[in-house]
Symmetry: C2
Subunit: 191 residues, 2 copies
DNA sequence: GTCTATAGCAAGATAGAC
DNA sequence: GTCTATCTTGCTATAGAC
């Protein structure tokens, strides 16, 4: 809070005039970066129809968007890591924003020429959100100049994801696809 | 440190007679649970020759081993999350233990009847270590009774991994396998 | 609305008696 | 070796003047 207040050019106490708590402030920060991500991704999503290119554009836009905050990524992650924290991406408090982010990946899929089975189509946005969290996790630890390694990871992993998804419809891979969907579906007995 | 000292039945100050810092204590804790994991996994590794069963046994042993410490998983993860912390699994300080854990997965592979290409054989232990960290991450957040969901994740994901690895040799999947290996290999230009 | 000052607390670590 | 007592720090959050 001290660092943020200083960066904002206001006194520490003043931050609490606008935000009820540290958690509220950070939640708002996350909302803001998500809106920035939406804006940064709008271009490719309007132009591209190829799934792979759409995903690549969205992932690059993601890294571009959060890059200015790489310095704070460590502290933010420390807060988010606590399973009991509302800032944890899997918490109920994070559910709305998580849903919005997942919706973006749904747009990536829906706006593409990708042909998919019903089940995979339903599950894919959530899977892509998880994938994107993995990339962010990598980015947090990335100390390479300009986070070049993260960008390379994005390029290569998007390629891999696109291949996997495309192949998933092939008959020999159907059982594997079904197994993967069962893994993520978790039907009925939630616990 | 206070909680640990209390659980150990000693005074807070006394903990610092045995451990130079919190980090040293936790590192030792990690070493200890790893040794316990080795012991718990020894049985299956001695008996089974099927890759899938070996991996399943090792993963179940892992969850069994860490289960008593589920209460502390949150705090421990908070420490480990900081990229600057020596407790971070990707830190240099964690490198020796990470290597030992990876070696265990090498044993899983080597002791099995699995036929693999040279490159995948070399990369697989590290990939399995990463996979196992993902399972641990899930376990940290798992609040289901007895962490049933984690055990189910292990069963299903091991099945999936085994299928994937088995299929990786098939000619139509070779390019995908090569792409996956490139993803993880990161040759030459480390950054 | 913004400031300064400070309350309150949790946690890591140390001092020094026994 | 083990204890109690305490130091120090770092942080969230609040009080109250302006």
């Amino acid at each position: 809070m001290r660092a943020i207040a200083e960066a904002a050019g206001v006194a520490l106490g003043n931050a609490y005039y606008y935000f009820g708590s540290k958690e509220h402030l950070i939640q708002e920060f996350y909302r803001r970066t998500h809106r920035e991500h939406l804006a940064a991704a709008a271009g490719v999503l309007a132009e591209e129809v190829e799934f792979k290119e759409r995903l690549l554009g969205v992932m690059r836009a993601k890294v571009d968007t959060i890059m200015p905050y790489h310095r704070f990524a460590g502290v933010l992650f420390k807060s988010a890591a606590d399973p009991a924290s509302p800032l944890n991406p899997f918490s109920v408090e994070s559910a709305p924003l998580r849903a919005e982010a997942t919706a973006l990946f749904a747009v990536v899929v829906e706006g593409s020429r990708l042909r998919l089975g019903r089940e995979l189509r339903a599950a894919l946005p959530g899977l892509l959100w998880t994938y994107h969290m993995g990339v962010v996790l990598f980015w947090i630890h990335d100390v390479s100049p300009g986070c070049r390694r993260t960008y390379r990871l994005v390029e290569r992993s998007v390629d891999l994801v696109a291949r996997l998804v495309a192949l998933s419809r092939l008959p020999p891979l159907r059982p594997l696809t079904r197994a993967a969907l069962r893994l993520v579906d978790d039907p009925a007995g939630e616990d």
